[in-house]
Symmetry: C2
């Protein structure tokens, strides 16, 4: 709790119960949830949370670098609160996003390419995840 308050203050954002609830979700949820999933999780326990606030807060958190927006799910935006360098695997069948730890196999510290200023890098793998391959119930999103 205190931790989340500090995160917001540190980013220059006002502390509100809605924002704390969203950060709390991220602390437990490593599934790279979409805005809708976050909204549903919260509105279950915390009535009086609107879509607008979820989107609003998420974009503030992305802007300030507290979380990252992933471009990996072709259907919707996914969000990741885990900021150390790592990659992602997206299962086309169950739509789960897995973290892939950074193995140091390429140079992610590039700051410029051909005159373009680089702010972020995403390495995305797509395919079928182990659970889905073995049909262990990983098939449903």
């Amino acid at each position: 709790m205190k931790e989340n308050i500090e995160k917001l203050r540190g980013r220059g954002l006002k502390v509100t119960p809605q924002r704390l609830a969203i950060l709390e979700i991220f602390k437990r949820d490593r599934t790279h949830p979409s805005a809708e999933k976050i909204y549903k999780k919260i509105s279950g326990k915390y009535p009086g949370m609107s879509f607008a606030t979820v989107y609003n807060t998420l974009s503030k958190l992305v802007e300030t670098g507290e979380i990252q927006e992933l471009d990996i799910d072709p259907d919707k935006k996914r969000f990741d609160p885990y900021t150390p360098m790592h990659y992602h695997f997206y299962c086309k069948r169950c739509k789960k996003v897995y973290d892939i730890d950074y193995g140091g196999s390429f140079a992610p510290d590039i700051k410029k390419i051909r005159g373009h200023q680089i702010d972020s890098i995403q390495l995305n793998f797509k395919g079928v995840c182990e659970d889905c391959i073995h049909q262990r119930g990983g098939r449903r999103p």
Copy 2:
């Protein structure tokens, strides 16, 4: 022309004027166009092309591997007919997508990670492109 006909036949797809028009666009357009941009370009010269057909054809071309769907523009899907291994840079300001040639700096030939079957890999860089940095009219999408 003949080239495009062969591409479709080779993929087991029926040859229609609409599909040829779309392939023709890709032959000239290296801007990684979205479905809407393709639709607009064609409906200018070729009235009687519907959105449905554009989406339909694009998904067939993606399914068969003739083109690639990029997850790099947070707003919409972009398509790339250039299939050799390469990466992409997305300018947050002008929304252009640039090809970045593959320099062999990491191993893109992985077929499996932790039991997950890998079908495709995308390495995406995001930031501000050279034109936008120097405000050479690259700012408008």
